[in-house]
């Protein structure tokens, strides 16, 4: 069987996946490879298209890419069968989207303060614009100019449910309104799906078992998280915005299963019945 080669590009959210890849990857098909290219979010938009490759626009980024990919600072797009774009501005951060895009009715109004109340359709249009401009979509556009290979989008995880318990969010009733949150996240997902579809990408949604209430990650998956810190040895005990290795393992499984389907069974090793 022809080996299948996947390129994963993303910001700090790649870390949980990489950890799971190293420690807990399922049995894979012979010759299957996954190459990671990762750097902090602020550096990711230094990636540039050059010919049929993505290259680093700064030495700082180049260093990160070499570090995470075992020596490469140039992504030759045609050498990969599929791409996985992780985080890099793509994702549904309920707190941030509500603040930057607006809120919806019913349930999102009375305590909205300065947050504009929008119709669902308008809110979706705003979120669509928001996601359209993220680095992950810029990367998808650059990849699409060179290859029609499958692109999976893996958003940053939802923020931790623990955020709701802390100031200033603990006093906001909309965060306790499950029906509203379901609606809100549904609108965001609809917008994200349209953004992805326009580029021929597919979204791997956050694994249901990691989700607390809609739009929030169960706290257990935010403890001892990992993120991309090349020279750092220490990691925080809790990180409201990053997943840990358990989170990474669940998401990696979902990603590999989807890639396996795309590739016609060239990713996961065949299991005997």
């Amino acid at each position: 069987m022809k080996p299948y080669s996947v390129c994963m590009i993303g910001n700090s959210h790649v870390a949980a996946l990489k950890l799971a890849w190293s420690d807990r990857a399922p049995k894979l098909s012979e010759g299957f490879t996954m190459t990671f290219f990762s750097a902090q979010n602020r550096l990711m938009n230094h990636i540039e298209a050059k010919g049929r490759a993505l290259v680093s626009g700064s030495e700082e980024l180049a260093e990160k890419l070499r570090y995470t990919s075992d020596g490469m600072d140039r992504i030759e797009l045609e050498t990969f069968d599929a791409f996985v774009l992780v985080g890099s501005g793509f994702g549904i951060d309920v707190l941030r989207l509500r603040e930057e895009c607006g809120t919806i009715a019913p349930g999102g109004g009375p305590d909205g303060g300065n947050v504009p109340l929008l119709s669902r359709a308008c809110f979706e249009a705003v979120v669509e614009t928001y996601l359209d401009r993220c680095t992950a979509m810029e990367l998808a556009d650059m990849i699409r100019k060179v290859t029609p290979a499958p692109i999976l989008l893996v958003g940053a995880p939802f923020v931790s449910e623990r955020m709701v318990e802390d100031e200033p969010f603990s006093a906001q009733p909309w965060l306790k309104d499950r029906a509203f949150l379901e609606d809100f996240v549904a609108c965001c997902r609809a917008a994200a799906t349209r953004v992805a579809k326009r580029r021929g990408c597919e979204i791997v949604w956050q694994a249901p078992e990691t989700v607390a209430m809609p739009g929030f990650t169960r706290e257990a998956f935010n403890k001892n998280p990992v993120r991309f810190k090349m020279r750092s040895t220490g990691q925080p005990e809790f990180d409201a915005k990053h997943g840990n290795e358990d989170y990474g393992a669940l998401m990696l499984t979902a990603i590999l299963e989807r890639l396996d389907a795309f590739s016609g069974g060239r990713v996961l090793a065949a299991t005997s019945a």
């Binding site: 895009c101 009715a105 504009p116 119709s119 669902r120 308008c122 705003v126 614009t129």
Partner: protein, 377 residues
């Protein structure tokens, strides 16, 4: 003793010197302001389609045009406009009749919303009182009402804070709910809903009704905002269709005459109400119809520029961008040249170009009334 009371009158008082021998692009003394608008005065705009363009022009020209429901910052201006943002000072859409304006102010005072004013089409729900602000309708009746409540709170804020309201009278014809008496900006069935003669009734407002409605409106607004002033205009854009039995030209002349008369009467009666004669500039023999597009309905850029020049000359604000000013001047010169050429050739009104009409329609201000065209034979 003079031989005639008209002796020693200024040139502007005589048709020959004031109109026949004058040019719309250079005419003087057509309008003398009753009060000034300072650059810091908060200006609100509302009315029919033409008012949208007046609002844009004022905004671009340095007036402090209010917007209490600004578009979400991330939306492109095109998408924002589809959702009714950035058109008027609040997201109320076109207000064609004075009754509609009055009812909006009353609702804004009380926060009154009514599910009976939500119309349905293809499973989507429309706010019948501003049906064009949501291009594909709302997801539910509940959503319509929640957004309307929010809108009314913003309108109340607008009416309480504005220093000047520029309101353009558009129509006298409207459709009402028989039971509630509520007036709608569009006929049921045009954008959404269904025309049920048992439920809806046609109404052509008369002088007293329009006059009294405006007086009631200003009384209501001035309770919270006693110093507010009003500038009234009459839209020179003719009606698209009439629901009366009359020819549309006859119906249009009647309604514009009524509106002009009401505006004049109000302006004569109140110091805080001024009338601005944009209608006279565009819709009378003075302009020989060259401020209209080929469909003899929509006002072209030159017309708008000529009208606004007179307004700005009186109100002394000249903050228009160089680009806008140049474009207007170019457009005015083109219109004047076309008109001179037609005169030289002894031609009347320009011939219609259906394709051009379609293009104009695409570009024109958001205008529900135009949808009636879709029902024309």
């Amino acid at each position: 003793m003079t031989r005639s009371p008209y002796e020693n009158r200024d040139a502007k008082h005589f048709w020959r010197s004031g109109v026949a021998e004058s040019h719309p692009l250079t005419v003087e003394d057509l309008y003398v302001k009753k009060f000034s608008i300072a650059p810091t005065d908060k200006v609100a705009t509302a009315g029919s389609c033409f008012a949208q363009r007046v609002a844009n022009y004022m905004r671009a020209s340095g007036f402090a045009v209010m917007d209490v429901e600004p578009p979400p910052p991330l939306l492109s201006p095109e998408v924002a406009k589809k959702f009714g943002y950035g058109i008027y000072s609040a997201r109320y859409g076109n207000i064609y009749t004075v009754r509609q304006l009055l009812e909006l102010a009353q609702d804004a005072q009380t926060g009154f919303v009514d599910a009976a004013n939500v119309w349905e089409k293809d499973g989507r729900h429309y706010d019948a009182l501003r049906p064009n602000v949501e291009p594909d309708g709302f997801a539910s009746v509940e959503e319509v009402l929640a957004l309307r409540r929010d809108h009314l709170a913003k309108v109340r804020q607008l009416f309480a804070e504005m220093d000047v309201l520029v309101f353009t009278f558009g129509l006298t014809e409207a459709w009402l709910d028989r039971k509630s008496g509520r007036v709608f900006p569009t006929a049921p069935g045009t954008i959404a809903g269904d025309y049920d003669p048992e439920r809806f009734v046609f109404k052509n407002f008369g002088f007293n009704e329009i006059h009294d409605d405006f007086v009631a409106f200003q009384d209501l607004v001035r309770k919270d905002n006693p110093d507010v002033k009003f500038i009234l205009t009459v839209s020179p854009v003719p009606m698209t269709a009439t629901a009366t039995d009359k020819h549309v030209l006859v119906a249009n002349t009647y309604l514009k005459s009524l509106l002009r008369t009401v505006a004049g009467a109000l302006s004569d009666a109140y110091d805080h109400i001024d009338y601005f004669p944009g209608y006279e500039m565009v819709a009378t023999p003075f302009s020989k119809a060259f401020f209209y597009e080929n469909n003899l309905r929509l006002v072209n850029q030159a017309g708008l520029g000529a009208v606004m020049r007179i307004f700005f000359e009186q109100h002394g604000i000249h903050g228009k961008s160089g680009e806008q000013e140049t474009a207007d001047k170019r457009s005015e010169r083109r219109a004047a040249r076309r008109e001179q050429q037609r005169e030289r050739r002894g031609e009347g009104a320009p011939k219609r170009d259906p394709k051009r009409d379609r293009d104009i329609t695409k570009e024109e201000a958001v205008c529900e009334e135009l949808l009636l065209d879709a029902f024309a034979p």
